[in-house]
Symmetry: C2
Subunit: 117 residues, 2 copies
Amino acid sequence: MEDFVRKTLLFDFYGELLTEHQKSIYQEIVFDDFSISEIAREHGISRQSVHDMRKRCEKMLTDYEERLHLVERFLTIKDHVTKIRDLSEMKDAGSARTPEETMKRIGEIADVILEEL
Amino acid sequence: MEDFVRKTLLFDFYGELLTEHQKSIYQEIVFDDFSISEIAREHGISRQSVHDMRKRCEKMLTDYEERLHLVERFLTIKDHVTKIRDLSEMKDAGSARTPEETMKRIGEIADVILEEL
């Protein structure tokens, strides 16, 4: 997965477990694209502190995912649901399924998702 | 939602954020149905400690959900996927949809899920 997408997902899922201070600095660096110097000046802390904070937040978010695997679970579900959506539009390339067969296949994928939930 | 189901979901999602000690005691009380006296004896701690630990774990798990809402997100997805599964089996009571109409409806629900993911 692209690094930026991974960071966005981790922050979306676990960002609320950071402190407000950590969240705002991490957001400014990673998503708002401020420079380390700008953030250091704005918050009245050293550039090293900004750098450390970024590393620390990244480690926290990664650690949460290593324990909980919730981003991973969501992504698996997303793949399955995308497949259902494509099947519902008959985009299943090369297949000559009847609508009835397609519905059966959709039901099977839905069952797989429900087992994983 | 039934209290036991709620506790099971919270523990399933966030249990790994408890310490091993907390996890094992919480599991014994809530899921393995041991008595507080039995657990106190087994772990060599007071009955009050077991009671406090249970309360503390419950609060931690509830707090995680209040911040992250991931159980809630999963349950919403589960409802949608159940609806897709039922539609795929033509269980949509009272409807006289054609297979094509049903597939269109399935595609719409899949889109709603994908927007939420």
